[in-house]
């Protein structure tokens, strides 16, 4: 066989995703794409801001030499300088360009971080439900993922996290705003988490908080994201511009290492080195230049908030139990029947494509990605109602 055993296991485990995808494609062919309400993909339809598109043209038209050559593995100095400046503003911490490493998106950044910090057998705590790729990012570098259930409202369960920490714990990976639930962790619960980690650091065990902040700007009703690096010294922020600037296909993001971290230089060196040997080499040149100028911009967040309100209203109206998300563009309702795969299949028959909760480590739920047009959301209303009624009748 040409392929490795570990990859072949991964393929088998994800075979249901493919089955569902193919089923969806079949239905699209049968009923027409416009009659299928596809909430299965986190691929935002939003376009980058107009000003960003103009800046791209300006950069491409520049007569300057060397715009497309290699640069240092960490990225352009002036780009990192500008991002450090932005980090300084939002955290009040003395970031310099050295604390920033440009990466091939957040997925690239997380792989670089885990390659840098994990020895075989080291554990990384991940609150569950979770973005299932995390399991691979940790496994790639021989780490062990320790899933810890969150509370009913998807907020952190500090007691459970405390119980999961042991000598092997190297990091906790949090993702807020969260995929798949849309929850945003508040300052109080993060402080509790940090208190817990400080108890360990007093005993000589440093545990990183690795924060996947891919959705950090997609946050509603004026909620503010707590200043994690300001609260905890061993914080590594990983972010990307796939969502906030609509550049998912261009693979651009960065790692920001807290200036308060002790021996931060060795982590910086390790991440730069990992960026090279994992084959990223550097983040794409032209996109580095662009995003450095758009740290303070984002796609229209109000648009997303309106969509969140609409889909939440539709779901509640149809009788679903659901936690109202505070950020990102996902919503994670309870499945009316325990078997979420079965339920997702049923919804398929009613023209709605979603992902079962088991794909995020949590059966009995399903995920909707509402980064689609408002039109799709509005038109899906009767179908959700249909499914809701069907189940209520079934339960009678």
């Amino acid at each position: 066989m040409p392929i490795s055993k570990s990859i072949s296991t991964l393929m088998k485990n994800s075979s249901w995703i493919r089955a569902m995808f193919e089923e969806g494609e079949k239905l699209k062919k049968k009923h027409g794409v416009e009659n299928i309400y596809d909430f299965s993909l986190g691929n935002p339809i939003t376009e980058p801001p107009e000003a960003l598109k103009e800046e791209l043209i300006r950069i491409a038209s520049s007569d300057a030499q060397g715009m497309h050559r290699y640069m240092t593995n960490s990225g352009y100095d002036n780009v990192r300088e500008e991002i450090a400046q932005y980090q300084k503003e939002i955290t009040g911490l003395p970031y310099t360009k050295d604390h920033i490493v440009m990466t091939v998106g957040a997925a690239g950044g997380l792989n670089v971080v885990f390659k840098s910090i994990l020895d075989p057998g080291d554990e990384v705590i991940v609150p569950c439900p979770f973005f299932v790729e995390f399991m691979f990012y940790i496994g790639n570098h021989n780490g062990v993922i320790k899933l810890v259930d969150t509370k009913d409202d998807f907020h952190l369960d500090i007691d459970k996290i405390g119980a999961a920490i042991n000598k092997k714990t190297k990091a906790i990976l949090i993702n807020s705003p969260h995929n798949p639930t849309g929850v945003v962790y508040n300052e109080a619960e993060l402080q509790e988490l940090i208190d817990l980690l400080h108890e360990r650091s007093k005993k000589g065990q440093r545990i990183y908080i690795v924060a996947d902040e891919a959705y950090k700007k997609i946050i509603y009703n004026g909620t503010k994201l707590p200043n994690l690096p300001g609260m905890y010294e061993d914080t590594v922020n990983v972010t990307c511009h796939s969502k906030d600037l609509g550049l998912a296909g261009e693979r651009i993001g960065y790692i920001a290492m807290s200036p308060r971290m002790k021996n931060v230089r060795s982590l910086i060196d390790a991440t730069i080195f990992a960026n090279r040997i994992l084959g990223f080499i550097n983040a794409p040149a032209i996109m580095q230049r662009v995003v450095s100028k758009f740290q303070r911009s984002s796609v229209d967040i109000m648009e997303y908030q309106k969509k969140r309100d609409a889909i939440y209203d539709i779901l509640v109206d149809a009788g679903f139990e659901v936690v109202k998300p505070a950020g990102a563009f996902y919503i994670f309702p309870k499945s009316p029947i325990p078997d979420d795969i079965q339920f997702v299949k049923t919804m398929l028959q009613h023209h709605i494509l979603t992902v079962p909760g088991v794909g995020f480590g949590k059966s009995g739920y399903f995920r909707l990605a509402y980064c689609v047009t408002m039109d799709v959301i509005e038109k899906s209303r009767p179908y959700f109602k249909e499914v809701g009624e069907l189940l209520r009748n079934g339960q009678k």
Binding site: P2, S14, E47, I57, A60, H68, M71, N140, E250, R251
Partner: protein
């Protein structure tokens, strides 16, 4: 410790001389001024992308299609892959389709995706030496074991050595032609011998893949043609990038071409789809996929590189160095006049302000690498320095 022990060890062990010299170079450049230094240490071409490419890029950005910057399927845009397949059909006479092409984040990304897809821990990959040091890291990333095999005096493949290195654990041989650091282009004859060696292994039930790093495939001189390995052997994966031929190194764009003769192609593509995702690449950068799709038949000026090669080679000969004349890429790998090439490289840097990379950075002591992807003036400027070094070592001059 703040970083993993494994990473700490890797960093300490690193003989990634290229980078170390780069840092040292910055120091020297600051000290003496940019103009005074001839830096041949980095394979970072000074060439600009072809003018037509720059125009096409501006056009593309000026009339953007909706969705241009979104995610696409992990293996890349279908129309881009079809364009590339069409080009490869022409070049190789093999029935490539879009399904055989997999867009990657450069060659380095492509190699990591392939190795992640194929290697079980302990699997061996044969690598002819001298070699591009990163290959070792790429193979180690996935628990594979690199098996280094010496090439011949002229840096051509030594089939006897390769045969002796094959074990039950051998999964692939990774070849890089035109070669970094030697500039050697493996000739038709040696490739045929390799194919027939591997075919006889297949008859005994062991499939060994040829993975070709073709990053320099368009940079060949003297009118020679690259051997058509797809016609010689079934189990071939070619990895390429447009860092060199289109001068887009910083944009990270390349692709893997999978031989249509690999029977388990679908399985391999599924594995690579997972690998590119879980390794965090997700997909090759969208914008430059579109560019690459349009410029398969284009490249920077090869004649310019050939002139640089000729000029540098003549200088080295004049100075008295021993060197195999390269037929491709933009590297030359002369013998060091003294066995300790590190000492020689340091002296060259300090006395002549000429920066090159010691051969041990490529697994071969006693040699040094010159990357001549620099302006012609720099090559000419370095002449006197090389001549003085030649005098010093070969003719007992001061």
């Amino acid at each position: 410790m703040i970083i993993s022990n494994e990473m700490d060890q890797l960093i300490k062990d690193q003989e990634g001389w290229t980078r170390r010299m780069f840092e040292e170079g910055i120091r020297i450049k600051k000290l003496y001024g940019l103009d005074a230094v001839c830096d041949f240490s980095l394979g970072n071409p000074d060439t600009e992308p072809p003018e037509t490419l720059r125009k096409a890029l501006i056009d593309m950005l000026s009339s953007p299609e909706v969705g241009t910057h979104r995610y696409m399927s992990n293996n890349g845009y279908e129309d881009v892959r079809e364009n590339i397949a069409e080009y490869l059909r022409e070049v190789h006479g093999v029935p490539f389709t879009a399904g055989h092409i997999f867009m990657t984040v450069g060659c380095a990304g492509g190699l990591n995706v392939i190795l992640k897809s194929m290697l079980n821990p302990g699997d061996e990959v044969i690598v002819p030496t001298p070699f591009f040091w990163e290959f070792k890291n790429y193979i180690n990333n996935f628990g594979g074991i690199p098996k280094f095999v010496e090439t011949k005096e002229d840096f051509q493949l030594d089939i006897g050595n390769i045969e002796a290195a094959i074990t039950k654990k051998t999964k692939a041989i990774l070849i890089n032609s035109p070669n970094n650091p030697t500039g050697a282009v493996y000739n038709e004859e040696s490739m045929k011998q390799l194919a027939s060696l591997l075919n006889s292994q297949r008859e005994q039930g062991q499939d060994i893949y040829i993975i070709t790093d073709d990053a320099y495939k368009k940079l060949v001189y003297d009118g020679i043609r690259m051997p058509n390995v797809f016609q010689m052997y079934d189990l071939v994966l070619s990895v390429t990038s447009h860092s060199k031929d289109l001068a887009l190194a910083g944009e990270r764009i390349g692709y893997v071409a999978i031989s249509p003769n690999i029977r388990d192609m679908d399985l391999l593509v599924s594995a690579m789809t997972i690998a590119i995702r879980v390794l965090g690449f997700v997909n090759a950068p969208a914008l430059f996929q579109r560019v690459a799709g349009k410029f398969q038949r284009t490249s920077v000026s090869i004649a310019d590189y050939e002139k640089k090669r000729d000029t540098l080679y003549a200088i080295l000969m004049e100075a008295g160095f021993e060197c195999v004349k390269p037929q491709g890429a933009f590297y030359m790998f002369p013998k060091s006049p003294i066995p300790d090439e590190l000492e020689f490289v340091r002296t060259l840097q300090q006395e002549e302000r000429i920066m090159v990379v010691p051969g041990r950075g490529f697994g071969r002591e006693g040699y040094f690498r010159i990357a001549y992807c620099v302006p012609m003036e720099k090559i000419i400027k370095a002449r006197e320095g090389f001549l003085r070094a030649g005098d010093r070592y070969y003719r007992g001059g001061k």
